[in-house]
């Protein structure tokens, strides 16, 4: 079998040899061999050196904070001379939930709601002891102010004036559901329906707004925070309005570990309860749940 493709590759080389020099052909062959072998050897190398791996799946809104958490955690661990690798995957919570049901190899799941982790405990995938609310998120309306839209516009005015409203998909993303609830409470559901552009997750909804294609977005405060931090906010004229008062309950985000729990997973969960970790979470635009009030299914 291998001889077949070699001869066909060489045939292609021969037909090309009219225009290509001998040396060039050799170079191309070397490049082709490198392209094929390098990825394989790199993968094998990585796996052999870093055997202890923690794979975390997170709702897109929490990804920036989780990256900082994992970096700080790794710095602390490396001081103890332990080598490990943390892989972070992000999507909308509903998508991760479905992936875990199908056997996706995640050890920890940071959801943007309470129900998906609870369901995973009920289905036997999640470990009940590790189920906890780790952050309370804020829903915000982000807009740009210019000459035509005064800075003091109300959320209702902004939504009525907008041509495109970016939200996360309410079928899979808790912040998408929350956004729909806020729109309804504001009494502009009918007017907004045809203006909604639906991102796959909250990060895409933010991208729709950030690229200038949607004039407002309803997203997690943690995402809006990213742009707010620098002088960028002033330069781009970004406004964020808290929509929490238009929700019946705040967006409570829960996490759960997927069985079986490795020592590294437990170490990370312990780290989550330290003041350092809690400061990273609050700095990221979240509130902390009251301690000792862990939810039970």
């Amino acid at each position: 079998m291998p001889k077949m493709w070699i001869s066909s590759v060489l045939n292609v080389g021969r037909t090309a040899s009219n225009s290509l020099g001998h040396l060039l052909r050799l170079k191309l062959l070397v490049i082709a061999v490198l392209f094929i072998t390098v990825p394989f050897t790199t993968v094998i190398f990585c796996h052999s050196v870093l055997s202890d791996t923690l794979s975390i799946a997170t709702a897109s809104n929490f990804r920036p904070v989780l990256e900082q958490l994992s970096q700080t955690f790794s710095e602390q661990q490396n001081a103890d001379r332990e080598s490990h690798q943390i892989n972070i995957s992000s999507a909308s919570s509903g998508v991760i939930y479905a992936q875990i049901l199908q056997g996706a190899p995640f050890q920890l799941f940071f959801s943007a709601n309470e129900s998906y982790p609870e369901k995973l405990v009920a289905s036997g995938h999640g470990d009940a002891k590790t189920l906890a609310t780790y952050a309370i998120g804020e829903l915000v309306l982000v807009s740009r102010h210019d000459a035509t839209s005064p800075k003091e516009a109300s959320p209702k005015e902004l939504l009525l004036k907008a041509k495109r409203i970016a939200i996360a998909n309410p079928r899979t993303a808790p912040y998408g559901i929350a956004a729909m609830e806020a729109i309804k409470t504001l009494g502009v559901a009918k007017e907004s329906q045809s203006k909604l552009v639906v991102g796959n997750n909250i990060a895409q909804a933010w991208q729709f707004f950030h690229s200038g294609n949607a004039d407002v977005a309803i997203v997690a405060a943690s995402l809006a925070y990213l742009a707010e931090s620098a002088a960028v906010k002033e330069q781009q004229g970004l406004d964020t309005i808290d929509l929490s008062s238009f929700l019946t309950s705040p967006v409570r985000q829960s996490r759960v570990a997927i069985k079986p729990i490795s020592p590294l997973t437990q170490q990370f969960l312990d780290f989550m309860n330290t003041p350092v970790a809690e400061k990273i979470i609050t700095d990221g635009g979240y509130l902390l749940p009251i301690k000792g009030k862990n939810i039970t299914p």
């Binding site: 495109r164 970016a166 998909n169 899979t172 552009v197 991102g199 991208q207 200038g212 294609n213 949607a214």
Partner: protein
Amino acid sequence: MNLLASDITALFLTLQLAAVTTVILMAIGAPLAWWLSRSTSRFASVIEATVALPLILPPTVIGFYLLIAFSPDNFLGSSWLTLTGQPLAFTFSGLVVGSVIYSLPFVVQPLQSGFQHFDHKLLEAAETMGAGTLDRFLNLIIPLTRRAFATAALLGFAHTMGEFGVVLMIGGNIPGETQVLSIALYDHVEALDYGRAHWLAGGLLVFSFALLILLYGFNRHKKSGAKQL
């Protein structure tokens, strides 16, 4: 579990998108392919490479850049807004622009290869007999390269039907406007609605297969027909 109204809407939207894209692609693709098949300039290689780019570029690259280009802050987005009063992002027109770029090589390459096999002495002969440009195109080039035209149109149509990544990034998932079949299917899968996903996935599979059988059957028929001549 069966097809709901939104899925039917997605079906018609997809067919509409594929049809509009194919018509535009044939109009752009035919002259472009003709020029590429005749030109010997170095510049032609650059154009040829540009046309082939969507074959190897991840659709996410095209989608990412298109969304930026569509923004009213940028040239393409703002000129379109001024001309039509509608933005490009999250609209059917935007999807057409994306699909034309994405399916361009599938139309240009079969046409170009068809034109390369076309005997240009015939054109000269026709010209000496007084045939005008349009006359030569309609009565000489098209009949003799009709297999290339059919292949180009069918591939352009089928490839647009199967478009996903670009639409995912520039569409905004709006029913009746940008929610094509592949996006509706993805949405069902992500929401664990596997029943409806099966309907759409199975339908797309059968349709694409039928389209390709039509294409290859047509080509085979023509080949054997040509031998008899």
